[in-house]
């Protein structure tokens, strides 16, 4: 679902290119998504041979899917602004503030699960839009603006939790949260027919991925955001309201951060102040591993899904093999570095092949 990507002319393109037009055809393995699929498959094979527990549905696979779901959405939250060539350094804290709003709504207003979610999403979108507005109006670098915002929100979230709760988390457990946490579709049967062993939070990530994919592939809004990212001056001179597109992209980022916060709260079983603390680095890792450029103008939703999957598989696998937390971090760093280097090598080789054959 890579959109606005350097699509080389495929085999279906007219084979007799006019002499004036230059084109380069890259080999099929140049697609970075394919590399990720292969690496993920290899790691799954490796981990399951070292520890058969890796394939245990209840112990490993279900929690893995739940974790992947959260980090897919976290990655998409970052991807929403990477499309502009911007960054959202406050992605974690936007999630924290939104989940606070959800917790407050459940605790004080007693709203149903989905209504609380909607309130949280609105808060996330609003805070994202605010960041976008400041960036668009002042022209200050998004990194700086969102970093400052992150700092401010850190204080705000701590104060809010101290005021409204015991300082750590809401005690309230809205109806449906426990099911979201523990159940898989296998627990729901129609007669003999039961669903697959897939946790209930997975559809949230699927909907988010499809929505973002649709946005950037087919929607005018998403395409205009990408054009703004590709060349802001040309975008403005082509009649795109670039300021509004910047606000929209950041609002989307905030909304997705809020969704990720909700999913993590569901996985943890509590709306707590620590939600979002672990979001920042993975938010960049997933899209970048998937081939999204930091420069803007091109995004890959499928790549982000695969990138998030890869990091979580590594994490789960090493965890299962009883690595300590510190070792875990070290090895994840090394594995990712290796993955990125290999990926770069693959890209260079593909490029060379294309050049020498043309």
């Amino acid at each position: 679902m890579r959109t606005a990507s350097p699509q080389p002319p495929t085999a279906s393109a007219p084979s007799a290119a006019p002499p004036g037009a230059r084109s380069r055809v890259l080999p099929f393995w140049a697609n970075p998504r394919l590399g990720l699929v292969i690496v993920i498959a290899a790691l799954v094979a490796l981990f399951s041979s070292l520890s058969p527990a890796f394939l245990d549905p209840k112990l490993t696979l279900a929690p893995l899917q739940a974790d992947v779901s959260v980090y897919v959405v976290v990655g998409l939250a970052q991807l929403a602004v990477l499309s502009l060539g911007h960054m959202n350094m406050a992605v974690g804290r936007m999630a924290a503030l939104s989940t606070f709003a959800m917790g407050l709504a459940y605790d004080r207003l007693g709203v149903p699960l989905l209504v609380g979610l909607a309130i949280g999403l609105a808060v996330g979108a609003a805070i994202g839009a605010l960041a976008g507005l400041v960036i668009a109006k002042t022209g200050v670098n998004s990194f700086v603006v969102t970093l400052a915002l992150d700092f401010g929100l850190l204080g705000l979230v701590t104060i809010l939790y101290t005021q409204a709760t015991d300082g750590v988390a809401f005690a309230v457990k809205p109806a449906g949260l426990a099911e979201l946490r523990f159940d898989t579709f296998a627990d729901y049967c129609a007669g003999e027919l039961c669903g697959p062993r897939v946790p209930l939070v997975v559809p949230f990530a699927l909907v988010a991925a499809l929505g973002v994919g649709l946005l950037f592939r087919f929607a005018r809004l998403g395409r205009e955001i990408l054009m703004t990212g590709a060349n802001p001056v040309a975008a403005e001179l082509s009649g795109i309201p670039t300021h509004r597109r910047i606000v929209a992209a950041h609002a989307t980022s905030g909304l997705l951060a809020a969704l990720a916060g909700f999913m993590l709260a569901a996985n943890n079983g509590a709306f707590s102040a620590s939600i979002g603390e672990s979001f920042l680095l993975p938010s960049f890792l997933a899209p970048v591993l998937g081939g999204t450029l930091l420069a803007g103008g091109a995004v890959s939703v499928l790549g982000t899904v695969l990138g998030a999957t890869l990091t979580q598989v590594i994490y789960k696998g090493l965890n299962l093999l009883q690595f300590s937390l510190e070792e875990l971090k070290l090895y994840i760093g090394l594995v990712l570095l290796a993955a990125l280097s290999l990926d770069r090598l693959r890209a260079v080789l593909a490029e060379r092949r294309a050049v020498s054959s043309s």
Partner: protein, 508 residues
């Protein structure tokens, strides 16, 4: 008089363009040498070759040395400076936060024990400033100087390496009359000290007042080489610059109905960019040319029309109705005005995006249903316009950056045609485009006018202007200096236009 520098048969080619074709320049000590030519004649290229910015593809540069003339190869501007060739480019090259002294010595900061020797920087700078006999405190930060003072600091900087040759590219472009006079007094002083000064300027009065000899470039060749200026009249110089070698492309004659309601009228428009009292009228089916030197305010006028600069006085009327245009989208959707930008790579195109998106970007709104762009409608539209404009591509999914310059320009035109504009502002449509594509482009633009489009054509290419325009408005210093009805007689029109541009000082 001894020859300090001679450039022999210099050749420089850029993709698709031969910028210099055996150009020759000879400089003697103790003289001011004027280098003249139209836009695109190769003056800047020649200066860049002499100062190590570019390397020549052919020919050689000889520099006087202790043992007679020696061939030199400048690998970088620093090389040229060390060899004694100093230059002041048209655009400022000073660091505002640094002091005058630091800026002057920037290329070769005197050091002591690895650290900058501040005392020597100051004394060195003072020496350079004294050469010019100007009174500027070397410790002042450059940001606090006036434009004229900065210009002098630039000259001091160019002289800091004991330059024997000083190249000045449009040194008075941003100076007032008084400041220019003072600058030329300094130029004369440098000449009397034995420097060879090269002066590039479009202001012929100034050239005649200060220069001794002249070289005229036309289409990359020297058509007059180091001739004493006194032998020529102003008209002869203009003739030399314009030349008669121009090959006319006859386009089918168009008739503009003079009684038709104008599509676009600017009535006494002043803008925040500095335009004052600009009046222009374009009728449907008409091409109004807007000619002028770089910096005369033509592109800025286009941007003001599109709401990117503020209109502070006067009014703009589109099809007879007063229009207040907020931005490009507004211009496009409410007034059907399109703007084909000047720098297609920076402002016109999304080089890393597909051709299809580059063309359809202006019409996604029309092609969308429920906010989603209908893919099939987009494909059809893109196919239609690539075929109509003869854009040569392998696939609409190719990146715009992979196209040749001419095809890129067609893409940036296509998006406005696709958007159904009936007023089109086209800014420098054929810069960097080879001759044949250029002719095709001219036919295309004329064809659009034929179909009833009102076109405001901004161009610095005089032959292009005279080929295409029905009327030519000449801009100077953010105002319209005059308007001519184009009779397509090249010699007469070009002289009339150039006279308006170089207009006498009294008129300014």
């Amino acid at each position: 008089m001894s020859i300090v520098l001679s450039a022999e048969k210099l050749v420089k080619t850029f993709p698709g363009v031969r910028a210099l074709d055996q150009a020759t320049l000879t400089l003697t000590a103790g003289s001011v040498h004027a280098l003249l030519g139209e836009n695109g004649a190769g003056k800047s290229t020649l200066i860049k070759l002499l100062t190590g910015v570019y390397r020549p593809d052919g020919g050689r540069v000889l520099l006087a040395g202790p043992d007679g003339p020696q061939e030199v190869h400048f690998g970088s501007p620093q090389d040229a400076q060390r060899a004694g060739v100093g230059v002041v480019h048209q655009e400022r090259n000073l660091i505002p936060a640094f002091s005058v002294a630091e800026n002057i010595c920037l290329q070769h900061l005197p050091r002591r024990k690895g650290l900058v020797d501040r005392a020597r920087v100051r004394s060195e700078a003072r020496r350079c400033l004294e050469l010019l006999d100007v009174d500027i405190d070397p410790d002042t930060p450059v940001s606090r100087l006036s434009v004229a003072q900065m210009q002098l600091v630039e000259i001091a900087k160019a002289l800091s390496a004991d330059s024997k040759v000083l190249l000045l590219d449009e040194p008075t472009a941003s100076l007032t009359g008084d400041e220019a006079d003072r600058l030329y007094a300094i130029v004369r002083r440098l000449r009397d000290q034995g420097h060879a000064v090269v002066l590039v300027s479009h202001k012929l009065e100034e050239i005649f007042a200060v220069a001794d000899t002249v070289t005229v470039l036309r289409d990359g060749r020297s058509v007059a080489e180091a001739e004493p200026l006194a032998r020529h009249s102003r008209d002869q110089i203009v003739d030399l610059m314009v030349g008669r070698a121009y090959q006319e492309v006859r386009l089918p004659q168009r008739t503009v109905d003079p009684s038709a309601e104008p599509a676009l009228v600017l009535d006494g428009v002043s803008t925040s960019a500095g335009h004052h009292d600009v009046g222009l009228t374009v009728r449907p089916g008409e091409i109004l040319g807007l000619y002028g030197l770089v910096g005369a305010g033509r592109s800025e006028l286009a941007k003001a029309l599109l709401g990117l600069e503020q209109i502070t006085a006067g009014e703009v009327r589109v099809h007879g109705k007063t229009a207040r245009i907020r931005d490009v989208g507004d211009a496009l959707r409410r007034h059907r005005i399109g703007y084909v930008t000047e720098n297609r790579k920076e402002e016109g195109l999304f080089l890393d995006q597909t051709i299809a998106r580059n063309i359809a970007v202006t019409v996604w709104r029309r092609l969308s249903r429920l906010g989603l762009v209908r893919d099939r409608a987009e494909r059809a539209l893109v196919a239609d316009y690539t075929e109509r404009l003869g854009i040569r591509l392998a696939s609409p999914d190719q990146l715009a950056g992979q196209l040749s310059g001419g095809n890129q320009q067609k893409v940036s035109l296509a998006k406005w045609l696709a958007a159904d504009c009936d007023i089109l502002i086209i800014d420098e449509p054929t810069v960097g485009i080879d001759v044949r594509t250029k002719a095709a482009f001219h036919e295309l633009i004329a064809g659009l006018a034929e179909q009833g489009m009102a076109i405001l054509l901004i161009s610095s290419d005089l032959p292009e202007m005279i080929t295409l325009a029905d009327r030519i408005a000449v801009m100077r210093d953010f105002a319209v200096a005059g308007e001519l009805v184009n009779d397509h007689e090249y010699d007469r029109m070009s002289q009339a236009v150039i006279r308006l541009i170089h207009g006498s000082q009294e008129a300014a």
